[in-house]
């Protein structure tokens, strides 16, 4: 698992690689805690290289979202595989998260 952070059009874009599961969740949380401590206002998380998410991974993403909301930050998830997107649908988390098909669209419309 790895999280690569870059700036694009004054936005923070994070690329996550591998599985978001019980083993990788602490490291993912740590990577996002750094951004949250700086109160980064908008984060796009590109999940195109994420092959698997378990309930711990979903919980970690919920926690990141909650922590961002505390200071009014916003997060968008993009490039989910159909299987991972279905997990968000089954758990109704799709209602909580802003989920977009493509990173470029998420960046272009993130006002």
């Amino acid at each position: 698992m790895a999280v690569r952070v870059e700036n694009k059009n004054n936005l923070t874009v994070c690329h996550v690689d591998g599985e978001i599961n019980i083993n990788s969740s602490p490291d993912i949380k740590k990577a996002f805690d750094k951004l949250i401590s700086k109160k980064v206002p908008k984060i796009v998380i590109n999940l195109s290289r994420v092959t698997y998410v378990d309930s711990s991974g979903l919980a970690t993403l919920v926690e990141i979202l909650k922590n961002m909301r505390v200071y009014g930050g916003r997060m968008r998830l993009t490039n989910l595989s159909s299987k991972i997107k279905s997990l968000f649908e089954i758990t109704k988390l799709e209602k909580l998260f802003e989920i977009m098909a493509e990173e470029a669209d998420a960046i272009a419309t993130f006002n």
Partner: protein, 149 residues
């Protein structure tokens, strides 16, 4: 020769329906060992990627619950997984040494009061992704069935 091949085929069929048991200590690092073994058994059944994902997820959720909630992560306690493949279905039992729980009492994680919680989606996902799910009376063993075709 043909007869021998046929016998070999029948033996392979019989082996496939054999029950396989995996015992692990109650540590999260062993979860992957269980799911990897089960997925390797499914590989020769040409299971779709989607169904393989579901099996992996449900096995890992069940084993993790057994480790964390059932055995309270006490290494000396064992999580026992037994699985078998028969009639194009895989049946997986995961049992811990705890006192069990009542799955009916778990809150619905999609309810607006619970949706922001950081936990409580594992059993819900298992119920949604598997074709059949059953708990024993004491609640320390889950049996899950997935059609693989």
């Amino acid at each position: 020769m043909l007869k021998l091949d046929r016998l070999g085929f029948l033996k392979r069929l019989r082996d496939r329906s054999k029950k396989i048991q995996i015992n692990i200590p109650s540590e999260n690092k062993y979860i992957k060992k269980v799911s990897a073994r089960i997925l390797s058994s499914l590989a020769s059944h040409r299971i779709s990627d989607e169904k393989a994902f579901d099996v992996k997820l449900c096995v890992e959720e069940a084993v993790r619950n057994a480790i964390v909630h059932g055995n309270h992560a006490e290494r000396a306690r064992t999580v026992k997984t037994i699985y078998w493949i028969k009639d194009e279905r895989i049946t997986i039992e995961v049992e811990d040494e705890g006192s069990g729980f009542d799955h009916n009492l778990l809150p619905d994680p999609t309810d607006t009061n619970y949706i922001m919680r950081n936990s409580g989606r594992g059993v819900y996902l298992i119920k949604k992704l598997m074709d059949e799910v059953e708990f024993n009376t004491s609640g320390n063993k889950i049996t899950m069935v997935k059609k693989i075709k």
